[in-house]
């Protein structure tokens, strides 16, 4: 059984069809990249999976269970985490607290835990937060206020927040957008490392072809809301339809 499946997923905005009968299937442990030109429906697809948008028709299943009808926070609880395109962090909190929030949320359900409990007694949460910050290389900056971090580190923290929720599936929306080449390199290494150590399943939305071809097991190409090709990086490189619709004259 696939970890994540979409079945004939359609989303229309007014008359505009953003995703058109998309059938996507992601196996456990797989790294799948979704690529496509601007307006191909990539972001819409992610927003549908995270339940930020309601589909017009079709179904989304995670671990075999339909998630249409669940709230976004419930989907996160089920194990789908998302890292944002921009550094969407809690600026006024410390780096450590940023990670702790995510760990807390996943560990203690969407609502609950004791009102009068002191935070220091939540050792499990602290451990997860610590491990996560260590993994994304921000442990030495744990006590800084998140807003003080340089942009690249904010983006790493953003990914850290997504990881601290201990997801089964991580959706990454252009994780390297706006990064310098060095930061991009570090982020790719980070993804590789997380993949190796945590065995996570990734769905990556990315513009940077080099990254896509380097770290994907499988690539799905969207154009005008439809899947026009699907396959290993090598297959995609050689696919005429993709060349035509998307890659155009770009040298690979």
């Amino acid at each position: 059984m696939a970890l994540l499946e979409t079945e004939n997923l359609v989303k229309e905005f007014g008359g505009l069809v953003a995703t058109d009968e998309v059938n996507l299937s992601v196996e456990e442990g797989e790294r799948v990249s979704i690529i496509g030109p601007n307006g191909a429906g990539k972001s819409t697809l992610v927003n549908l999976i995270t339940r930020r948008l309601d589909p017009t028709s079709g179904d989304i299943r995670f671990k075999g269970e339909s998630i249409v009808g669940h709230d976004p926070h419930e989907v996160v609880q089920m194990g789908v985490s998302k890292s944002f395109q921009t550094a969407s962090i809690f600026s006024d909190l410390t780096v450590r607290e940023n990670a702790e929030i995510a760990a807390l949320a996943s560990e203690h359900g969407s609502f609950g835990f004791k009102l009068l409990e002191h935070r220091d007694s939540l050792t499990g949460v602290h451990q997860v937060a610590r491990d996560t910050l260590d993994a994304v290389g921000l442990l030495d900056q744990a006590d800084r206020q998140a807003s003080e971090l340089p942009y690249g580190d904010k983006r790493r923290l953003e990914i850290g927040i997504a990881l601290a929720a201990e997801p089964d599936l991580l959706l990454m929306d252009e994780p390297t957008a706006g990064m310098s080449p060095e930061e991009t390199e570090a982020t790719v290494d980070l993804v590789e490392e997380v993949k190796r150590e945590l065995g996570l399943t990734f769905v990556l939305i990315e513009h940077d072809m080099e990254i896509v071809f380097r770290i994907s097991d499988r690539i799905v190409v969207l154009n005008r809301g439809q899947v026009i090709a699907e396959g290993t990086p090598d297959e995609i490189k050689g696919d005429a339809a993709v060349q035509e619709a998307y890659l155009g004259g770009v040298e690979l």
């Binding site: 905005f13 927003n47 930020r52 948008l53």
Partner: protein, 313 residues
């Protein structure tokens, strides 16, 4: 008095009260829709309109306040009601422009809560300035002599409603129609409507929104000023009138649907008429009834009667 005369009286009273709500709500609503700015000082604009109208139209003898203490107890130009109706909207329009420029603009990038707080503080300052200078006691603001008593035309003469209330309804109808046409059929309106839907897109298209915004704010303010002039002679005039009118005006907006002029009109009529009917029947419940309607509408249609459901980006 026969039942149908009474019913018509109640209905007209309701429409007149609704007209005041509409004048305030249309301004609040287009400001909220385009600028995404909650203006807690809208009642203060109404207050300024009322006092300005009073001081232009009549001569006033202050009985308290600093002006009286300093020997300026006799105020007012005594020009009459028509000049007041013509001048006040411009005065309050300018006040609105100033507010947009010096209060709204600087708070554009602050959190919503700060925007609300600063206009709330501004409302207090305006109210207290009027209290300090013109005193707390109510000032007489009578309806003009030519508009007292029912209009001397067939049928209406039999209904015990002063002509002034018809004027209020008429003036409101004309002004709201003008604003509606402005928003629906001019380039200015196009930018306003687009700005309501998707401000980022409008900016991306290279249209500078700051100028339409300041005009939107000025128009909203001017409408509140008119509401103050026409509503003034119907109630005692004192510094708290702005505070009192603010809440029903907000509710009218929320019930009608933010950004919708038609919604504001519908909400205002609904509120005014309901209030008048309840006053005539179960007067103890008159105010509560309004809020109950508001609660029901919000439970059934959170976006308001004519509002559009919010679209996720």
């Amino acid at each position: 008095m026969s039942f149908h005369i009474e019913a018509i009286t109640v209905l007209l009273n309701g429409l007149q009260q609704g007209a005041i709500y509409i004048l305030l709500a249309v301004g609040l609503s287009i400001i909220l829709g385009t600028l995404k700015f909650v203006n807690f000082a809208h009642g203060a604009l109404y207050l300024i309109g009322t006092y300005a109208g009073l001081l232009i139209a009549l001569e006033v003898n202050l009985t308290s306040g600093q002006l009286q203490a300093w020997g300026f107890g006799q105020l007012g130009l005594g020009l009459g009601y028509i000049p007041a109706l013509l001048i006040v909207p411009f005065v309050v329009f300018v006040v609105g422009l100033a507010m947009e420029r010096w209060v709204v603009e600087p708070f554009k990038n602050r959190p919503d809560t700060d925007q609300i707080l600063v206009t709330f503080g501004l409302a207090i300052i305006v109210q207290e300035l009027f209290r300090a200078f013109f005193g707390s006691s109510s000032l007489p603001f009578s309806q003009p002599s030519w508009a007292q008593g029912p209009p001397q035309v067939p049928f209406l003469a039999a209904i015990p409603i002063s002509s002034w209330r018809y004027y209020v309804i008429g003036i409101t109808a004309v002004l709201v129609l003008i604003v509606y046409l402005l928003v629906e059929f001019t380039d200015f309106g196009l930018v306003v409507r687009a700005g309501t839907r998707d401000p980022e897109m409008v900016e991306l298209l290279g249209i500078r929104l700051s100028r339409p915004y300041i005009v939107v704010f000025g128009i909203g303010a001017a409408l509140a000023g008119v509401a103050g002039v026409v509503g003034g002679p119907l109630n005692p005039v004192n510094p708290t009138i702005g505070n009192e009118i603010l809440v029903p005006a907000f509710l009218t907006v929320v019930i009608g649907g933010v950004g919708s002029i038609a919604g504001a009109v519908l909400g205002g009529v609904l509120f005014g008429v309901t209030q008048a009917v309840l006053v005539a029947t179960y007067s103890a419940w008159a105010q509560v009834g309004l809020y109950a309607i508001a609660a029901i509408v919000l439970l059934v249609r959170p976006q308001g009667l004519l509002g559009e459901a919010e679209v996720a980006p």
